[in-house]
């Protein structure tokens, strides 16, 4: 492991507060890229993005270029986007479908599983030239749960199931089972965002119940105006909704007790009753009445998986750190296989209302992140507080710890995981 280059993790991350430098310091950022994004598990995409052999997406892992591709045998591959000859990128489209990857520089051609198939004029290489050893390099660990693909550049990382834990795997099951066929369709495109702020501002915000009534005041006002229903109490300190720490820094925002399908039920944005009925019948046939009720009660719930995945009902997200003050976020609004077209169409319309660069909600989050990065530059009192609800945490029967929806349990559990991974001699 790298030496810690003089980073005093115990001082920077305390049980009740964190220091500005964890969001602003370049040395700490580089160490995060190594310890968290290189040595640990990160989310890289969903199998539903690349359903057909030859389908590919460009991705990055720890800022390195990788190709997320469905190979000729139907398997999912993560290949380094680097020709093994002289390092040219072999894939230059963001996405598409190709039968192979051909390096444009000297014509080396690689099969979809990375195998080197063609070397032009190969007779001029020396006798020990071993084509079979020169396939595109595969990311050493790639594992999936219900189509959600995670990967690590560290061959010795723990099994994915140990990183996720049973509670997170259940949450991913609950997302996939929103489809009557138990699978999601991720072919409806992406929103891709950037902001001038640290990646962990998005992390903390992804599961922050406290901010909704203030950051998203205009959205709440519009809901109230259109429906007469006031969503603000759902994210007030009196709401019965809970934040759960699921272990390893993962968190759940659980508003199932409210049994509301989110706070974004604008008129015209929910499916017609007929289509909804068909969906409900298909869900009950697939999962039974009790589980269907449970799954649908969770539609306003959120999930965060350390370090770079979140889910918010209509979509899931991938966070990509670029620099201490530069972050990219991809949103994947997804469709439910086996649901009526009308249900899926309305899922996209609900998503667009709030999310994306021109949406009426998330744009304010991004603005807040950028203002946050400005504020973090003030050094007289360099601490951010994490104490809300610390004395009111509850141990739950399923093994999670919970707090009221506006409490800061999520921040505390995320920072505890961060500290564990960034601490002296830590291994993923």
């Amino acid at each position: 492991m790298n030496p810690m280059r003089g980073i005093d993790v115990d001082r920077l991350v305390q049980p009740d507060r964190v220091h500005s430098h964890v969001y602003t310091d370049l040395t700490i950022f580089e160490e995060e890229i190594e310890r968290i994004f290189t040595q640990g598990w990160i989310f890289v995409g969903h199998e539903g993005e690349i359903p057909v052999p030859g389908d590919f997406r460009q991705r990055t892992m720890a800022r390195q270029p990788v190709i997320f591709v469905r190979d000729q045998h139907g398997g999912v591959q993560l290949l380094m986007n680097r020709c093994t000859h002289r390092a040219n990128a072999v894939c230059h489209l963001e996405r598409g479908n190709q039968p192979a990857f051909t390096c444009p520089y000297h014509g080396w051609r690689f099969k979809l599983d990375g195998e080197l198939a063609v070397v032009p004029f190969a007779e001029r290489f020396p006798e020990d030239f071993d084509r079979s050893a020169l396939g595109l390099r595969s990311v050493p660990r790639v594992e999936a749960h219900r189509g959600f693909v995670f990967a690590s550049l560290n061959p010795d990382v723990c099994p994915l199931k140990d990183h996720l834990g049973p509670l997170v795997m259940q949450e991913l099951d609950d997302i996939a089972d929103l489809s009557p066929e138990g699978g999601i369709d991720v072919t409806a495109g992406y929103h891709r965002l950037r902001y001038a702020g640290n990646w962990k501002l998005q992390v903390e915000n992804a599961i922050d119940g406290y901010h909704a009534n203030f950051t998203h005041r205009t959205h709440m006002d519009n809901v109230r105006f259109r429906t007469g229903f006031d969503p603000a109490p759902l994210t007030s300190s009196a709401a019965p909704a809970r934040i759960h720490a699921l272990g390893n820094g993962h968190c759940r925002w659980d508003s199932s007790s409210l049994n509301k399908s989110g706070t974004r039920a604008f008129p015209g944005k929910t499916p017609d009753p007929g289509a909804w009925e068909i969906y409900l019948d298909a869900m009950i046939a697939a999962h039974g009445k009790e589980r269907t009720d449970y799954l649908l009660s969770k539609q306003g719930s959120h999930l965060y998986i350390f370090p770079n995945f979140s889910y918010t009902g209509a979509h899931f997200r991938l966070f990509q750190p670029v620099a201490p003050d530069e972050t990219r976020v991809t949103l994947f609004p997804f469709l439910l296989k086996g649901a009526p077209r009308e249900v899926n169409r309305k899922r996209l319309r609900v998503h667009e209302t709030f999310f994306g660069p021109a949406g009426g909600g998330q744009s304010d989050d991004l603005e807040i992140f950028e203002r946050n990065q400005v504020g973090l530059g003030a050094s007289l009192d360099p601490w951010s507080l994490l104490t809300r609800g610390v004395h009111l945490e509850q141990q739950e029967a399923d093994g999670s710890v919970s707090n009221q929806i506006t409490d800061e349990l999520s921040n505390r559990t995320i920072w505890a995981k961060w500290k564990q991974m960034m601490g002296e001699g830590a291994m993923a």
Binding site: R192, L193, R194, T215, D221, N222, N344, L348, S363
Partner: protein, 165 residues
């Protein structure tokens, strides 16, 4: 949509150009209610995401709004609590290459390009693309029935884009 534009009619072209310039001036000045007033009741505003040639129904868009969505957008921007436009961006846009043709039922299709410079909090941003308006003559003015905006960077990582385009 595959419509063969007829040979532009000189006076029609002047009138639609004036309309686009008015719209640009109103949007640059953040005159939200005036901008909303340009749209018909059956308005559809579409800004595709990832590609120009996508299915408006089953592919996510940057903006996919009917009249009600536009009203909600304007109410939000006018409230003073849309943080992303507090302070507002300063904007200047150029509209060019205006061509038009008449559709059925008196509607007019107008194709143009735009180049927009926005400045906010010490940062310049450029937005550019082409746009297609479908306009309906109403008395002696036009109203927008449909507007589609194809940004050149609709597949890129984007910062907030919450002023009027």
């Amino acid at each position: 949509m595959t419509i063969m534009l007829e040979r532009p009619h000189a006076s029609l072209r002047e009138r639609v150009a004036d309309f686009l310039f008015d719209e640009a001036e109103i949007a640059d000045a953040h005159r939200y209610e005036d901008w909303l007033g340009l749209w018909g009741q059956d308005a559809f505003y579409w800004m595709p995401c990832n590609d120009d040639d996508i299915d408006p129904d089953m592919h996510v868009a940057l903006i996919h709004e009917d009249r009600m969505g536009l009203e909600d957008r304007i109410r939000r921007l006018s409230s003073g609590f849309a943080h992303t436009q507090q302070p507002r961006s300063r904007i200047s846009r150029v509209i060019s290459h205006i061509r038009c043709g008449e559709l059925e039922e008196g509607l007019v299709e107008v194709r143009s390009v735009f180049n927009l410079t926005a400045f906010r909090r010490d940062r310049f941003e450029i937005f550019a693309g082409r746009q297609i308006h479908v306009l309906r003559p109403v008395e002696n003015r036009f109203e927008i029935v449909r507007k589609t905006v194809y940004l050149v960077n609709n597949d890129g990582y984007m910062s907030n884009m919450t002023f009027l385009i």
